[in-house]
Amino acid sequence: MGFNVELLEKLVSVYGPSGDESLISATIRKEISEYVDEITTDSLGNLIARKKGEGKKIMVSAHMDQIGFIITDIDKEGFLRFGNVGGISPDISLSQRVVFKNGTVGAIFSEPMEKSSERKLENMYIDIGAKDKEEAEKMVAIGDMCIYYSSFAHNDNVVFTPYLDDRVGCFVAIEALKRLSNTDNDLYFVFSVQEEVGLRGARTAAYGIEPDFGIAVDVTAHGDTPKAKRFAVGLHKGVAIKVKDNSIITHPSVRNSLIDIAKAENITYQLEVLEFGGTDSGAIHLTKTGVPSGVISIPTRYVHSTVEMASKDDIESSIALLEGYLSKKQ
């Protein structure tokens, strides 16, 4: 099966910062509706698609929200001040283009700073080219959110684009769903909201679903670039099966099941011990009486930048592993 670049490009390009995921939710709903038995959206905005089965309930979660910016002020000259939505770095944001839900495009720049290391988001602003406040307010209101402007690129080895985090996870879940033949398991594909601001969507989705097992599909960091902090995960070394991050130590039964499937199906994999960060499984596993949970991670360089980079082979391995896990009777 070929690598569906078009779908991935579409997914990373649709607007959906944490708290306003309606457009990406609609896009995904359209993409998967013919492959599932039911689709609902819960009160927080999670898109929950069920492929029915008689067996155990498995919840797959990939978050569809993105990090971005929220406008807090518009000054007399029409410049926008902003706060962060999720983990936004001043260094990375400087001189980036951003786009609002209504298509308004702006550029992020900064007040002059003596030392660039002292630059904080409060010293920065967005310039949408408005001549004054009045004109700016016609395009943008306080409370509007914007995201990094899309710039998708790829070659034979890798894709690089903003928002692989976690649209590539959505992509992996969708592709696995499409490839799935019938399975005994009762599958819930959750495209969760508000992961970037605290795993909020996955928490309520899991409470409602009460799954027997949870699998999050998300990006992870890398340790394979010049002078990178030691971290054994790198690109082109296969899907990463998470052992721990700051939100979870994955359940041994789920982790070992993933490892066994990877071995049995010759899927290249690596093990991941991340010393920071968290993902949807961190919320899922604490639900009610507890949900044994694991994580399928896509090794990604430069996470939370506009040039997030992942290997096509690793993405394929991730799809294969998820498909394998979901097909196997749990």
Binding site: A232, P252, Q270, L271, E272, H285, L286, T289, G290, P292
Partner: protein, 350 residues
């Protein structure tokens, strides 16, 4: 089995947060002897149920966490040295020149390495070494080692429990296997006493990282009262009286926002009635124990914390006085026996 023997087995055993299953047989066997049923829940908590005479009208949960702090393999370098990270809070100064076991396909002995002193100028000895600059040496090369262990394997310090003077013992993971031992002794005490309430003894997982065990076990049991049995800072010269409790003088009965005041009053009164020594320790908000999770489960659970005095917490030479474990168990048993359904409303009234 004597409580001290169980404590020794548990302290010498291994069960870093997320890897508690290594201890399950020992705890299930021990708890099973003095309770009506014992089960392993799906996250790995061990839950023992001891029925009271009240047909389950009142449920008391007692939680002690069985996980311990430790390490995890993050990488194996070209020379065959293991790089690692901590699970739970560990002072990097306490791990240099420590013997460890890597729990891989088999248990592998390793040594935590550092530069020998001769190679460094004196000033370098004044800097503490960061964990990321330490390695574990197993005497294997990378190829051989990669067959035996993988990234993500857990690591514990090698330490056998030893007896010191005065009923004091030293070992690793007394935090909170001492609490698990106290639960065991409480069961034995309750064999001798008539009690109305049902008591659920839970050896919880992952207290040191996410409190996943206490959260989910409490949700399932839905108790009327929850008690975390954990360790408290045993007094040593470098600690203030205000943040430590004395060794051998009974458990600390925590006071603060995490604690239900009415229940605490009852607990202290019971201690007085039965001449069990107790101390007071204070913590303002949610405590660093399972009670933090217990208190906020479902519609909320009134909580208590008993702290067994423990010196050198989160090192591999934690010291406790076994007398404090028995005091704790006695108090837990008498307290449980004092709880009747018809007075719950009054007891819980603020």
């Amino acid at each position: 089995m004597e409580t001290k023997d169980l404590l020794e087995i548990l302290s010498n055993g291994n069960g870093v947060s997320g890897f508690e299953f290594n201890l399950k047989n020992e705890i299930i066997d021990a708890f099973g002897k003095y309770t009506d049923s014992v089960r392993l829940d799906r996250l790995g908590n061990i839950i023992a149920h001891k029925k009271g005479s009240g047909n389950g009208a009142v449920k008391i949960l007692m939680a002690a966490h069985m996980d311990e702090i430790g390490f995890m393999v993050t990488d194996i370098d070209k020379k065959g040295f293991i790089h690692f990270t901590n699970i739970g809070g560990i002072d990097p100064r306490t791990i240099l020149a420590q013997e460890v076991t890597i729990h891989g396909k088999e248990d592998i002995l390793g040594l935590i390495g550092s530069k020998p002193p001769h190679l460094q100028d004196q000033s370098e000895q004044e800097k503490s070494i960061k964990m990321e600059d330490m390695i574990i040496d197993t005497g294997f090369d990378k190829e051989a080692l990669s067959e035996l262990i993988s990234i993500g394997d857990s690591i514990t310090v090698n330490r056998k429990m030893i007896s010191l003077l005065n009923n004091r013992v030293s070992g690793k993971a007394m935090d909170d296997r001492a609490g698990v031992a106290a639960l065991f002794e409480t069961m034995k005490e309750l064999e001798k006493i008539n009690h109305h309430a049902d008591v659920y003894f839970v050896a919880t997982i992952q207290e040191e990282v996410t409190m996943a065990g206490a959260l989910t076990a409490t949700y399932g049991i839905n108790p009327d009262i929850g008690i975390a049995v954990d360790v408290g800072f045993g007094r040593t010269p470098e600690l203030n009286n205000s943040n430590s409790i004395e060794m051998g003088k009974g458990p600390g009965v925590l006071l603060g926002g995490n604690i239900h005041p009415g229940l605490r009053k009852r607990l202290v009164a019971v201690a007085g009635d039965y001449n069990v020594p107790v101390q007071t320790n204070v913590w303002p908000g949610p405590s660093g124990t399972d009670a933090r999770a217990i208190q906020i489960t479902r519609e909320g659970v009134p909580a208590l914390v008993l702290s067994i005095p423990l010196r050198y917490m989160h090192t591999s030479v934690e010291v406790l006085d076994l007398k404090d474990v028995s005091h704790t168990a006695k108090l837990l048993a008498f307290f449980s026996a004092s709880i009747e359904e018809n007075e719950m409303e009054g007891l819980l009234c603020f």
